[in-house]
């Protein structure tokens, strides 16, 4: 890499990373900017980064013995995209991430980062950095030395690496905790340190293995927004593994739904939610009814169903099984005459204009165009 200035320019850290009132509030001591305030350079870098840092998987497989954990998947993540790998446990999403990271050997196929085949490169030479699920902070090192670890490995002198690590800690507003060891930090603080450590290597791809699963729901929400903002501002690729469809919908530019080692559907979250490719995707994303109609499998969004009492032109007739109040909406579980389980989601006000009780007979209505045909495969 070049001199310190151009190095920092590569990561190009914007001011808003430390905006007030956020999880990483502005720090009074913070005076550094990654590019030294050169917006021209910032913009130029962003352009280069976005074009150069595509991540491509070309029929990548992972075999454990004879088990195919990942079964020849193809995926292209464009530079600057936030990608979420989504799926139930055992679907191969973590193995995929670990292969991109270089912590797992690729059994077959190629991984390309910035159009370069990286199959045999060690993690550090791929330009990737990983944030581990357990954070994996070194318990014997204090916060500052944890963040400075990669610099120490490069042989950067002590004073220099401490200074640069301190800048990074400042940016995640953890500078006050520089002398603490991980055991003295809360989960959220450890995560910020882990993030700072991962960013210290100036990665072009940041890999996150279920980064929010260990946090409480409130912190998870805040951290989610924070991750999204950091990603947008750094302009690098984030690949985020999660089993939560809510997380994927909130964060991803590109959501990739996986099942049994294969990609079932990849696309923007809105497309996946509105046009699920298979019944599995519809069920996994939630908020959908999967039915058979005229011998074909169709999906219907739960919030596209209208309920009424005993109309003749109903699409289906059903009994209310259960009613769950969810705040802005009400979830009504239904059992149809043909024995199917369905669910309707009604806006709170609409529902309470004419509420139902469990056991009530209701008629279901929907617009024909709301039915979406999917592949028969479950």
């Amino acid at each position: 890499m070049g001199d310190a200035r151009s190095e920092t320019a590569i990561l190009r850290h914007p001011v808003s990373w430390a905006a007030g009132g956020r999880l990483f509030p502005r720090h009074p001591r913070r005076s550094v900017r990654w590019s030294g305030g050169n917006r021209e350079l910032d913009r130029a870098n962003r352009g280069i980064m976005a074009k150069e840092n595509d991540v491509e998987l070309v029929s990548v497989s992972k075999l454990y013995g004879t088990t195919r954990a990942v079964d020849s998947i193809d995926l292209r993540i464009r530079g600057g995209q936030y990608c979420c790998l989504l799926g139930p446990s055992g679907c191969g999403k973590s193995s995929t991430l670990r292969m991109i990271a270089g912590h797992e050997a690729v059994s077959d196929g190629d991984i390309l980062i910035a159009h370069r085949r990286v199959n045999d490169d060690p993690p550090a030479r791929r330009g990737t950095a990983m944030m581990f699920q357990s954070y994996a902070l070194f318990p014997h090192l204090d916060t500052l030395d944890n963040v400075a670890f990669s610099l120490k490995m490069q042989g950067v002198p002590k004073a220099e690496r401490r200074r640069r690590a301190m800048e990074m800690l400042d940016l995640v507003s953890m500078a006050d905790y520089a002398a603490r060891v991980p055991a003295q930090l809360s989960g959220g603080q450890q995560q910020r340190v882990a993030l700072a450590r991962a960013l210290m290597t100036r990665p072009s791809v940041l890999l996150l293995d279920e980064p929010l699963s260990a946090l409480d729901p409130f912190l998870r929400g805040r951290m989610r927004a924070e991750l999204r903002r950091i990603q947008r501002e750094l302009g690098i690729v984030f690949i985020h593994v999660t089993h939560s469809q809510e997380e994927a919908m909130a964060l991803a530019d590109l959501a990739v739904v996986m099942k049994d080692g294969r990609i079932v559907q990849a696309g923007p979250p809105r497309e996946i939610f509105n046009r699920p490719a298979t019944a599995f995707v519809a069920q996994f994303m939630g908020g959908h009814n999967v039915m058979t109609q005229g011998g074909r499998t169709v999906t219907l969004r739960s919030d596209a169903i209208r309920l009424s009492r005993g109309d003749a032109d109903a699409h289906r007739r059903a009994t209310v099984r259960d009613v769950e109040y969810q705040g802005p909406q009400v979830h009504v579980a239904l059992a149809t005459e043909t024995g199917e389980d369905m669910a309707a989601i009604l806006p709170e006000r609409t529902y309470f204009a004419d509420p139902f009780a469990p056991g009530d007979a209701v008629a279901l209505h929907w617009a024909p165009e709301d039915l979406h045909h999917v592949a028969a495969e479950v």
Binding site: G102, H103, S134, H140, S150, M153
Partner: protein
């Protein structure tokens, strides 16, 4: 963090006390009562003999009697000529130096072997059943008595032993190697053979606590294998290294059996000196020597602790 755990633990203990039928205020007394059996064992088998040894080391002895007294002659005898005779070393200093030499060499060799074996078991053997199997294999030497294990070396290393015959048969040497048996080499070999497991077990134990993600995190940060070893594995295995070192150092410092048998009764060691003195019923002298040995071992261990501590500062 630790504070909250402590108060939490204390609170739960306080909650548990009424359930056990213990009243508040009796807590301290009850605690002492519970600790009493351990204290008795400790006092009877450690403190008392130690005190007796210390007392006897000041007693007077002649060729046919041992008299209670408070004299420093035993200690003076130990160091007889040690100061005046410099730079020539007196017997005591020579013996200690020889013992320390064995101690250091055995410690260094068992540390390297023990660390390597523990590393292999912890990081390269993936499945638990396989780890247990390998571990049991490591303990095989302990299935027989210490004397048999030592004697087993003799047909292997002797003048006409297997090793010498093999070397001569291959034409590597034309006469048998003398230094294979009854030498420093054989003593160190036997000690290493006997005590490496004491190094393996504690180091393996601390390595098993290392989260494999830490190794990956180090690799992710660009650490080479060697850097991961020195920056992550060794610091985190430090408690195990320390405990294993204390085991090996204390055992080797007091050893007289191995050095006696494998050294052909020709090599001096402190343990052997004490044994000889006891054979001649010179109990006070042996006691004085034992006290000196105790001090030496404690010094060696504190030096060791400091040495390992310095590593942490780097």
């Amino acid at each position: 963090m630790t504070d909250t755990i402590d108060t939490g633990a204390r609170r739960s203990i306080r909650r548990a006390i009424p359930r056990l039928g213990l009243r508040r205020g009796q807590g301290a007394g009850e605690g002492l009562l519970l600790a009493l059996p351990m204290w008795l064992v400790f006092a009877l088998f450690f403190l008392l003999p130690l005190a007796v040894t210390l007392v006897v080391s000041f007693w007077e002895f002649t060729q046919y009697s041992i008299e209670p007294a408070f004299i420093l002659r035993n200690y003076a005898d130990l160091f007889d000529g040690c100061i005046d005779g410099l730079p020539y070393l007196c017997t005591t200093l020579k013996t200690y130096l020889s013992t320390l030499k064995f101690c250091f060499l055995v410690w260094a060799v068992t540390l390297v072997i023990g660390f390597s074996v523990a590393y292999f078991l912890a990081f390269h053997v993936r499945s638990l059943p396989m780890q247990v199997t390998c571990f049991l294999i490591c303990t095989i030497p302990f299935w027989t008595s210490i004397v048999i294990r030592m004697i087993a070396w003799i047909p292997l290393l002797g003048r006409n032993g297997l090793v010498n015959q093999a070397l001569m048969g291959m034409g590597v040497t034309d006469q048998p190697l003398e230094w294979l048996l009854y030498s420093d080499f054989s003593v160190i070999l036997a000690l290493v053979h006997l005590y490496t497991l004491f190094m393996v077990v504690p180091i393996f134990n601390s390595m098993m606590r290392i989260d494999p993600a830490l190794i990956e995190a180090a690799r992710d940060s660009g650490a080479s294998g060697r850097q991961t070893l020195t920056n992550v594995v060794i610091p985190l295995a430090r408690p195990g290294i320390l405990i294993g070192s204390i085991f090996v150092v204390t055992i080797v410092m007091g050893d007289f059996l191995t050095i006696g048998i494998m050294g052909g009764q020709q090599i001096a060691s402190v343990g052997k000196t004490i044994q000889t003195e006891i054979q001649y019923l010179q109990f006070p002298l042996a006691a004085a020597n034992a006290v000196l040995l105790l001090i030496a071992v404690m010094l060696a261990i504190s030096a060791l602790l400091r040495m390992v501590d310095i590593r942490k500062e780097l």
